[in-house]
Point group: C2
Chain length 343, copies 2
Amino acid sequence: MVTIKEIARLTNVSTATVSNVLNGKPGAAGAAKAREITTIAENLHYMPNKLARSLQQQKTNTIGIITEDLTVFNAPEIVDGIDEYCEENGYEIILENMRLFKRYNNDFTDTPKHHELLDLIMKNMTAKQVEGIIYVGYHCREISYLPSRVQVPFVYAYCYPKEDIYPSVLYDDEGAAADVTRLLIQKGHRRIGVICGPAASYHTKTRLKGFRAAMAGHGLKVKNSLVVYGDWERQSGYRLAAGLLDQKVTAIFSFNDLMASGVYEQAAERGLRIGRDISLFGFDNRDTSEGYVPSLSTVHVPLNEIGRRCAEITLNQIKRRRPAGKRIYLPCTVLERQSVEPV
Amino acid sequence: MVTIKEIARLTNVSTATVSNVLNGKPGAAGAAKAREITTIAENLHYMPNKLARSLQQQKTNTIGIITEDLTVFNAPEIVDGIDEYCEENGYEIILENMRLFKRYNNDFTDTPKHHELLDLIMKNMTAKQVEGIIYVGYHCREISYLPSRVQVPFVYAYCYPKEDIYPSVLYDDEGAAADVTRLLIQKGHRRIGVICGPAASYHTKTRLKGFRAAMAGHGLKVKNSLVVYGDWERQSGYRLAAGLLDQKVTAIFSFNDLMASGVYEQAAERGLRIGRDISLFGFDNRDTSEGYVPSLSTVHVPLNEIGRRCAEITLNQIKRRRPAGKRIYLPCTVLERQSVEPV
DNA sequence: CTGAAAGCGCTAACAG
DNA sequence: CTGTTAGCGCTTTCAG
C-alpha cells in the first residue's frame, strides 16, 4: 500500500503538501510540482487510507444498519433505500444482521437474549464510530427492549419503539385498508370477506381498523363471520376462502398477497373465476402478484421510501438540522388490477 | 467518547498499561491497579476506537461484499450466509450495492458504465482496507468485465469470471435437473414437458443439459415440441402450460417456481389436478412453493451455503491457508412434495 | 511489574 | 506559496 509519505519522499516535498495537492487545496504547490505529485500518485495507484483519514478528522461518514433479519422479504428493499439515500449524500453503510429468524427458530419474542445481542451489536457499531444507526424490523410492531446506551441518532424502520423515544418510519396500513375497502364498495360490493393475519398482529389490527372505518363510513355493517384469521401463508388463504365463498361474498380482501394466491386456488377448484365471479384484493404487492392470472389488485407498500426516509432523518439529525420527529406513516399505493370488477 | 488516555489520567498510569490491562495481557499491572482500571473503564463505558486500533494493527478484520442488486431474491440469502460465516470467524462485513436493476432499467448488459461503477466501488473498499471482497451476482452468468486492480482476495458468488481468474461458487444446475428428470422417469413419466427460461440464459442451458442427459441415460428421446421457453414469470408458465397439456404430457418440469405457479392456474382451469392428473416440478424452492396446493416439488438451491463457502474461501486466502480454487459447484437438494405422483 | 516513546496514515494550524 | 509540527486513539517495543 503506497502512502502519502512515500509520495512525499519521491517528490521531495512534505506529506502535508502532498495531502493538500491531492485534496485539491488551491495554491498548495506550484503548478509544476502539483502536476508532478498527482502524476506520481496516479502511477503508483495511491489510495488514501480512510481509516487514517477518519481517525484524524473524527468523522467516518458512515451509518450503521441493524436488520432483525435480512432474509425476510421487506428488509432488502428497505436497506436498498437507505443505501441509495446515503450514497446520494456521501455516506456509507455498515450492516449487521441479527438473523433473528434463524437464531430463534422463527418463533422468538422480545427476549433478554435478543436484548443482549442488540447491545453487543450497538457496542460494536459505536466502536466503529458510526454517526447514526437505523434499526430495520422484520415485521411491524412495537419494540419494547431498547438499546441501552445510544450515543448517535437512532431511527427505527418498519417498527417503532415504546413511547416513541426515537423516531420511526412505517407505512399507513390503516389508510390503505380503508382505501381498498372504499374502492370495493364503490364497485358495488357489499358482502366483503376479509382474510386477516393472526389476530394479534399489528398489521391485522390496523388494517382491520381501516376496513371497519370505511365500512362504517358507508353505513355498512361488518358481519363477524366474514372476518377470518389466517397465518399469512398461502395455505390459510386457500382454506379460509372456502368458508367465505360458501357465504356468497362478492369480494375478498386478503391482508397479504400470499393468502390471496390461495384464494385463486380455491376459486379455480370451484370453477369460479377471479375478477369475473369474485373480486379479490391482496396486500404487499409482492413481485409475483402482477403475474397472477388475472393479475392481483393489491397495495404497494413503500419499503424503499421507508429506507430513504429513515436515512434522511438520520443524516439530518447528524447534521443537527432538525429535531427528532416522532412516528411517520408513509402512504401506500392502491394498485387496481384485473382481479377486481364491479358487482 | 472516553478514550484510553482519559482512563490513564484518572488511574495515574500510562496509556500503555491501560491498554494492556484492558486487553487482558497477563501481568500488565498489579491486581489492585488492574481492577481499578477495569472498573473505571466499565463505569465510563469505555469503548475502544476500532479505527485507531485497525490503523495501528494494520488489520481491519473486515471483508467487503459487492452485490449486483440486493433486492433480487437470491442476494439476501447469500449475503446472510457470508455474514454468518464471518461472524463465526471474527470478521465483519461492509456492503456495497450496485443496484444494477434500478440503475439500468432491468435490461442492462455488461457495459463500460458498469465496469466504471465496479472500479469505483473497488477503490472505495480498498481505501477502507478490507481484507477480501466477495462479488455477488444477481443471476448466474459469466462476468466479462473484471475489476481492474485487485489487491486482496476476490471471490465470486453466483456467477463466475472469464477464464476463472478468481474462484467462484455456484450451484450444480445440471446435476439437479438430471436428478429431477430421473425421479420423474422412475415414477413412470415418459412424456415430460419442460418449461425453460429464456434460451440464452445460463440456467436454461445447464438445466436443459442435465435434463437431456438424464433422458438419454434412460434411452428416451426428447421431443422438441415439449421443450418450450418462457421468461421466468408466472404468466409465461400459465401460457406455455396450455400447449404442453394439449400435447398430453404427464409431467411438467418448470425451470422455476414462478412459472410452475402459472401451471397450477392453467391446470385448474382445465379441471386437472396437479399431483393427481399431472405431475409438476419447479426449481428454486421459493418460500411460497411449499404453500401451493398441493405443495410443489422443487429444487432447493444452496444460497446460504454459497455465501458461507465464499466467505470460507476468502478468509482462507486471507490467512494464506490454501491456494485459490477454481469454480465450485455446490449440490442442490431435490424436494419431492405432493405435486408429483407415479403415472 | 510499569511507563516512555514511537508510530500506524492522514490532515489542520500555523509559521516562514 | 511551502513546510514544520502536532496529534487523532491505539498498541507495541523496550528500557527501567
